[in-house]
């Protein structure tokens, strides 16, 4: 079932279309990093020789490049090992520093696990956490947020863009609300930075997490923006040691990684406007081609407030793992975790109110900088081909065609 659609000239298989998981390194980023794996090996904290100065200069240039992309100042950028650490540092660091002020944190049920599991740990230490449920379109309701705030609320942490369904949360309004109430606002902006314009002052962010490898930079490096004025945000460090990064994150700096992250931000800054137009066009092309050929498709997440390169679709009455099997030469993600021992489908899709059966049938396409129109056409044709064939095999699709209401059937699962 996987041989019908031939790869056209110029399309090389396998096709990588999972750019929310990670992105390939931009060759320009690699080029910028290479000297720092070689002759420029100095420790940025060495203050008394040229090797150290050279490394420090590169790090400070990267700090500028990152700050510029998000409308911050260089001194507000703290380097970390990646966004998981940035999220941990932001949330745990605020929780400990502002413990006397309050113990309540507000987040959303569809956040990344790096935020959710950090909040869960804090609950064990006596903090209260409110997990706002998103609407069917994946967006949080600002009135829910208002209602959740009380005089013990110290932090609101809501992601800028969702990694599965690509929706852009109303961070500008969330930031304004937090400012009005005197509550700190952290946003996990891993998927949004470099893809859509983000200005920390416009959104009133107190803290913002970003990562290198989601923006065509290297893995193992990220940053946390920490506001220095209006108001100044203080953090308790997670990692103690030599007092690097203004005491907020000790440890010798990953100079090549930081140089790469800086270069990736600079490229994103220059290319964002054009790239987002191109990716939106590719995304819509993929969506429209699939919708033109197939019925019983559900597009997940609000499409108006959406990342350019994201498309999350449920192919009803087709099971996710068999779908992935048919498109094995295309790297995408499935809402089905069918191969795992737990058989649990995506918690993000379930939070939108999707049934397990619909979540199992979902595919996340992550279109990125290096995807071409020819690849999009190949993927669209392949999806249509495989879904049609699997639906010929699907008793559910046949029953729905006959007008049978599947919810009226007494299903009997195998005895396990």
């Amino acid at each position: 079932m996987s041989t019908e659609v031939k790869a056209p000239e110029g399309v090389k298989l396998p096709i990588y279309m999972d750019n929310h998981a990670t992105t390939p390194l931009d060759p320009r980023v690699l080029e910028a990093m290479l000297p720092y794996f070689g002759a420029k090996f100095g420790n940025a904290a060495s203050r008394n020789h040229s090797f150290g100065w050279e490394a420090e200069e590169a790090v400070e240039q990267a700090r500028e490049q990152i700050a510029k992309l998000i409308g911050a100042t260089a001194k507000e950028i703290i380097f970390t090992s990646g966004a998981t650490e940035s999220n941990n540092l932001a949330i745990k660091g605020v929780a400990e520093m502002y413990r006397e002020k309050g113990n309540h944190i507000i987040t959303c049920a569809t956040e990344h696990k790096a935020v959710l599991d950090t909040c869960k740990r804090l609950e064990k230490y006596g903090y209260r956490v409110t997990y706002l449920p998103p609407g069917k379109d994946g967006l949080i309701d600002l009135d829910d947020l208002k209602r959740a705030m009380d005089d013990k609320t110290i932090l609101v942490t809501i992601m800028a863009a969702n990694n599965e369904i690509g929706v852009l949360q109303p961070i500008e309004q969330i930031g304004a609300l937090c400012k009005e109430r005197g509550v700190l606002f952290h946003t996990d902006a891993v998927q949004a930075v470099g893809k859509v314009p983000i200005d920390v002052n416009k959104i009133n962010a107190s803290l913002l997490s970003l990562s290198g490898h989601k923006i065509y930079g290297p893995k193992g490096v990220g940053a946390l923006y920490v506001r220095r004025k209006n108001p100044r945000v203080q953090l308790t460090a997670l990692i103690d040691g030599g007092g690097h990064e203004r005491g907020m994150r000790s440890g010798t700096l990953n100079v090549p990684g930081i140089v790469g992250l800086g270069k990736a931000c600079e490229i994103a800054m220059n290319d964002m406007a054009e790239e987002s137009k191109r990716l939106t066009a590719l995304r819509d092309r993929l969506k429209n081609k699939i919708l033109a050929e197939l019925d019983e498709i559900q597009v997940n997440g609000n499409m108006e407030h959406h990342l350019p390169g994201n498309l999350n679709m449920s192919f009803l009455y087709v099971e996710g793992e068999s779908l992935l099997m048919g498109i094995h030469e295309i790297a995408v993600s499935s809402g089905s975790a069918c191969t795992s021992a737990t058989l649990e489908p995506s918690y993000v899709l379930k939070a939108l109110g999707l049934g397990d059966d619909v979540a199992h049938s979902s595919i996340r396409f992550g279109i990125g900088r290096f995807n071409t129109e020819a690849e999009i056409d190949y993927v669209a044709n392949k999806m249509v081909d495989v879904v049609k064939k699997l639906r010929e095999l699907s008793p559910l699709y046949e029953m729905v065609r006959e007008g049978i209401d599947l919810s009226k059937i007494e299903w009997q699962a195998e005895g396990h």
Binding site: M1, S2, T3, Y317, V318, E319, G320, E321, S322, M325, G326, S336, C338, T339, A341, L343, G355, D356, D357, H360, E392, L393, S394, P395, L396, Y397, E398, I404, L406, K408, I409, E410, W411, Q412, A413, E414, G415, H416
Partner: protein
């Protein structure tokens, strides 16, 4: 996950896909599994009333590649067999033939259930004692 060549072969070229007339007295239909579990199999048999031989078998499956392969294989095996012989097929035979990993054993169980459910439905139509407990039925 790596699939065995036999699973891939059944997935790529499924045997006996289709639908038989479920209202015919010679046809038995088994529908097992549940959409929220990610597996639904429908297996149908057409039995020669004189010889008790399963002359035709068809399936449709919503499920992973192993579930598709298990039901495809089941139809292949029961075609041409007498009803009593078909009932002797065990899920472990399917596991062995398709080299299913432990996490996919439930697919073979479902295929065995589907064979039994189809035969049960057919027997019911002929007034015989029928083990119908595995058959899902449309309410009202």
């Amino acid at each position: 996950m790596a699939y065995s060549d036999k699973v891939l072969d059944h997935y790529t070229h499924p045997r006996n896909v289709g639908t038989l007339d479920k209202s015919s007295t010679d046809v038995g239909t088994g529908l097992v599994g549940a959409p929220e579990c990610g597996d639904v199999m429908r297996l149908q048999i057409k039995v020669n009333p004189a010889t008790q031989v399963i002359e035709d078998a068809k399936f449709k499956t919503f499920g992973c590649g192993s579930a598709i392969a298990s039901s495809s294989l089941a139809t292949e095996w029961i075609k041409g067999k007498k009803v009593a012989e078909a009932l002797a097929i065990r899920n472990t035979d399917i596991v062995k033939e398709l080299a299913l990993p432990p996490v996919k054993i439930h697919c073979s169980v479902l295929a065995e259930d589907a064979i039994r459910a189809a035969i049960g439905d057919w027997k019911k139509k002929h007034g015989a004692e029928a083990p119908v407990e595995n058959t899902a039925e449309v309410k009202a």
